[in-house]
């Protein structure tokens, strides 16, 4: 817009009358027009000039020219694009936040040799950043288009499938989150190089960044990392020391684990009753576990990440030290050392005055080392307990490393233990809700559980939250999809209790149907 017109309008014609004649006819643009501008007064001439000026500007806009060459287009695809209906299924999964089913969908897509629809790629890159667990499932279905797109946006470069040199620039200049993602990625393909890269920049990294970067060592952790991690136990940042200790405590054969074993051997003695003795009398006389706790954590313990103060309300400082020592030792060590079964050890520990420290320590170690046989033993022990509902939390079922056949047997056992149809406090209910590992359950098991729920609807009881919102949902995720039609049949819709169940049963059937449809569509 001509500055003279604009400033004249701002000022007002009372103070500065508008004179079109000041525009020279030879002026480029509207000069000519201004000369001819008729207006009954100065204001109208000004408005007329403004209107013409703006129109002139709009009509005569010169578009910017991009001097860059066009991007080289994406290479031809090797994977087949998923169908329009699969696209709609994906939308539903993303929109309904059905994350578990999304994983199943992605895996099926990869198996079928198909790829994601292009317009969803940016959202999927976002998912890989916010939920790194999904990355290994998404990468195989990105297609050429996905890798092409990843190159266009620096935070996505590491998914471009290029040699990591291209992504390395981002390692030097990228944002905090994208550097962590890069290192994590490198860690998966070349853990030694990742460690060396971090070693190079370690001194210049900020404290919280150091801890976050060190955290990626969780992947492909090996004894080759040990010297580096051991060194970090003396880092000046507490968070870095904590992360290093945590990693070393997951590394069987590390010196830290060895030190923990030595401490445990000093503190805990196990003297099982010999066969043929009268067990009952003996136990009362003397605990099978004899514990000589450490009074305080010495400097070497502190260095190994042991907290001197208990974070548990139910456990004192001494018990806490013991707990942290046990938690760092692979559970298999004890079965070997004491030549005893996990279940026997748990039973004896439960009777000891150090039950809390021992059992909590083992539970934590089960999590760290994914010790499925110990998980199974904990569940068996819990099932055999009287008054399960009033026992301390450290007796509750734990599922780390538990393989499906073990889980299946445990549920069968739990179902057999209580002939009542499923209800919230039935022993099978928490098992069904707690086992989150993906994959389909055995059809017979699914049938047995569904049959039990139908019996429950027919009997007269109050709302069963954990069954209706929990078990039914888990069934929807784990029933084999080809059972959909079978499972839709025979619900007791005439039962007076049906209205309280109808919604949840229908939600269950809808999810199951969605799984069946989406898989069928991918494989068609």
């Amino acid at each position: 817009m001509d500055k003279r017109i604009l400033s004249n309008a701002l000022l007002g014609t009372a103070r500065q009358p508008f004179q079109p004649s000041t525009f020279s006819a030879s002026e480029e643009g509207l000069g000519d027009f201004m000369q001819s501008l008729a207006g009954e007064n100065s204001e109208e001439a000004l408005l007329g000039a403004a209107a013409a000026g703006f129109l002139f500007e709009r009509a005569g806009v010169t578009l910017p020219v991009d001097p860059r060459p066009l991007l080289p287009p994406a290479p031809a695809e090797k994977l087949q694009l998923c169908s329009a209906r699969s696209r709609q299924h994906l939308n539903r999964l993303l929109h309904g936040r059905h994350s578990e089913i999304l994983q199943e969908w992605l895996a099926a897509l990869a198996r079928a040799g198909k790829r994601l629809p292009a317009e969803k790629l940016p959202e999927m890159f976002g998912l890989m950043e916010s939920q790194p667990d999904l990355a290994p499932l998404i990468e195989p279905v990105l297609g050429e288009r996905g890798r092409w797109l990843a190159v266009q946006n620096p935070p996505w470069t590491l998914y471009a499938g290029l040699d990591l040199e291209a992504a390395r620039e981002n390692w030097e200049t990228g944002s905090k989150a994208s550097r962590v993602a890069f290192l994590k990625r490198l860690r998966a393909s070349d853990s030694d190089q990742a460690r060396q890269l971090l070693q190079e920049t370690w001194a210049s990294e900020g404290a919280d960044q150091r801890a976050a970067l060190l955290g990626v060592f969780e992947r492909n952790l090996s004894l080759a990392d040990e010297p580096f991690l051991e060194e970090k136990l003396d880092d000046r940042s507490k968070e870095v020391r904590r992360v290093a200790a945590e990693l070393l405590a997951r590394l069987p054969g590390s010196a830290l684990v060895g030190r923990m074993m030595a401490r445990a051997n000093w503190a805990i003695k196990y003297n099982p009753a010999k066969k043929g003795f009268l067990n009952i009398g003996l136990k009362k006389a003397k605990s099978v576990f004899q514990v000589a706790p450490f009074d305080t954590a010495d400097s070497s313990m502190l260095r190994d990440g042991i907290e001197p103060k208990s974070g548990f309300q139910t456990m004192g400082d001494k018990a806490n030290i013991l707990y942290e020592i046990i938690a760092a030792i692979p559970p298999g060590y004890w079965t070997q050392r004491w030549q005893a079964q996990p279940l026997d050890l748990i039973k004896e520990a439960a009777n000891s005055e150090w039950a809390g420290a021992l059992l909590l320590g083992w539970r934590h170690a089960i999590q760290r080392y994914e010790a499925g046989d110990w998980s199974e033993a904990f569940i068996r022990h819990w099932l055999e307990m009287k008054d399960r509902d009033t026992q301390p939390d450290y007796f509750l079922p734990i599922y780390n490393g538990l393989a499906y056949p073990q889980f299946d047997k445990l549920v069968e056992k739990a179902l057999a233990m209580d002939s009542e149809p499923l209800y919230d406090r039935h022993p099978a209910t928490p098992l069904l809700n707690g086992y989150k590992r993906g994959g389909n359950w055995r059809p017979e098991l699914v049938r047995a559980v569904v049959k039990s729920i139908k019996r429950r609807i027919n009997s007269n009881v109050t709302y069963q939250w954990k069954v209706q919102k929990g078990v039914l949902h888990e069934l929807a995720l784990h029933a084999p999809p080809n059972m959909t039609d079978e499972l839709a049949e025979g619900w007791p819709e005439d039962s007076p209790n049906w209205p309280g169940w109808a919604r949840d049963v229908q939600e269950f059937l809808s999810l199951l149907e969605l799984r069946q449809e989406m898989l069928k569509e991918i494989n068609s």
Binding site: G12, R15, N41, E43, G48, P73, W148
Partner: protein
């Protein structure tokens, strides 16, 4: 014509989000006691809270819906559920050899009769209202006089404003603008009143208010001048001035006029709702033969549904009548159009310069033109700093509105190849509405 409607298109037909999510819930095989399909109609029976199952049917060619449920929402959740299920799992529907059951045939017949009747009524010459005619003419004269007087006042007011300057006007309270707007409402010039209220908003705003306000004042000045010299203007411009001032055109009368027969492509749709729950929908069309754009307005109040017959990505063979005006865009679709869920060929110009040329021509015809529909046949989305541009083969770029949220999905769809694009150009920025890539339509307004 049984398949082709996508779930996204169907969800858009829902009158509100409640019906949409209830519809999704019903898009499951086990919810339906029977499901059937023929070439032009889909039907199903769904057990609701009533004793008898609800009978739901969809005439696929429009699409038109019917359901025996008592819901006042339209289409109801059963209709939506049935339609979604059809899009999702056509295999769930049986195709009886003897065609639809009787209750479906009954409905189809009734529908056909109703339609024939409507066409007869539309074809009939308007009833002579000789008695009313004189009264009508008198009312029209009265309004003309009111508007003329009102706009004469506004002209003086505008002169005063310019004399004291825009800087001073900025200091005025909103009431300054609003009371003049109210005066224009009294003078039966609602289009002018709307302009004044918008100026009040601009004057109260920050950054760039000076230019924006002066431009609006200039446009208002042009409108007043146009009205003062109405008789001397060509017919189209006369109609435009009258429409801008606030005269409305009778849609019934307009529907009598001959329209343009074409295969019309539905390229975009926007919906807004104001503080008074008045919903407004604009649907942008493109004539595949004529190459002409058109926009269809639809209004609904509160929970009333907006017209759902024009789904983005669909097309129809039908007659479109433009409202008279300069560079006419607003239009209505005559009844009896035949709808298709998709189309095959994307229209538009190849270069960005052609767009600007057409735009300046349009501005020459209608200086009040605000949004200019743009179809491009082969362009590339490119990133420029934090913003996006649409460039053509030669490198010329239309800047995309700042903070355009679909830039990355659009780039992903392009993959470095050219795409088709439809959007609205406001003189400075392009607002993309839809794209054509991988031989399919993508609605960028949707959650893609």
């Amino acid at each position: 014509m049984t398949a082709g409607w996508t779930a996204e298109q169907i969800i858009k037909l829902a009158p509100d989000s409640g019906a949409a999510s209830a519809g999704k819930g019903l898009a499951a095989k086990h919810k339906w006691q029977s499901l059937g399909l023929s070439d032009s109609v889909a039907w199903g029976e769904c057990q609701g809270s009533g004793k008898l199952p609800y009978q739901t049917e969809i005439f696929l060619e429009e699409p038109a819906f019917h359901c025996t449920c008592p819901s006042r929402k339209f289409p109801c959740k059963h209709s939506l559920g049935l339609f979604l299920l059809l899009a999702d799992q056509p295999s769930a529907f049986s195709r009886p050899a003897d065609g639809p059951p009787e209750w479906v045939r009954d409905w189809l017949e009734k529908r056909l009769k109703r339609q024939e009747k409507a066409q007869e009524v539309a074809a009939a010459p308007p009833k002579s209202k000789s008695a009313g005619k004189a009264g009508q003419a008198k009312r029209a004269d009265q309004r003309q006089a009111k508007v003329t007087a009102g706009l004469a006042d506004l002209r003086l007011w505008l002169g005063d404003l310019l004399r004291s300057g825009l800087a001073e006007a900025k200091g005025q309270p909103y009431k300054f603008w609003d009371s003049m707007a109210a005066r224009m409402v009294d003078a039966q010039a609602p289009g002018v009143a709307r302009r004044l209220r918008e100026m009040g908003g601009i004057a109260a705003g920050g950054n760039g208010w000076q230019e924006e306000l002066l431009e609006r004042l200039g446009q208002l000045h042009l409108l007043l001048e146009g009205y003062r010299h109405l008789e001397q203007l060509p017919a189209g411009l006369q109609a435009e001035v009258r429409a801008q001032v606030g005269w409305t055109q009778s849609q019934d009368e307009l529907a009598q006029e001959a329209g343009i027969l074409d295969r019309w492509l539905v390229l975009g749709q926007s919906r807004e709702e104001d503080d008074n729950h008045l919903k407004m929908q604009r649907t942008w069309l493109w004539g595949s033969q004529s190459g002409r754009p058109a926009v269809v307005f639809d209004f609904a109040y509160g929970s009333q549904p907006l017209d759902s017959s024009l789904a983005p990505g669909s097309s129809f063979d039908g007659e479109v009548v433009y409202f008279p005006g300069a560079y006419p865009l607003r239009a209505l679709v005559k009844p009896g159009a035949r709808h298709y869920p998709t189309f095959e060929d994307w229209p538009g110009a190849a270069g960005c310069s052609e767009i600007i040329e057409a735009y300046s021509q349009a501005l020459g015809e209608n200086p009040w033109l605000e949004l200019f529909p743009v179809a491009l046949s082969a362009v590339y989305p490119v990133r420029s700093g934090d913003d996006w541009q649409i460039r053509d083969e030669a490198g010329r770029c239309l800047p995309v509105e700042p903070a355009f949220p679909k830039g990355w999905p659009l780039l992903a769809l392009s993959g470095g190849y050219s795409v088709g694009l439809f959007g609205l150009w406001d003189g400075r920025y392009l607002q993309p509405y839809s794209a054509w890539a991988e031989q399919r339509f993508i609605d960028l307004e949707e959650n893609i």
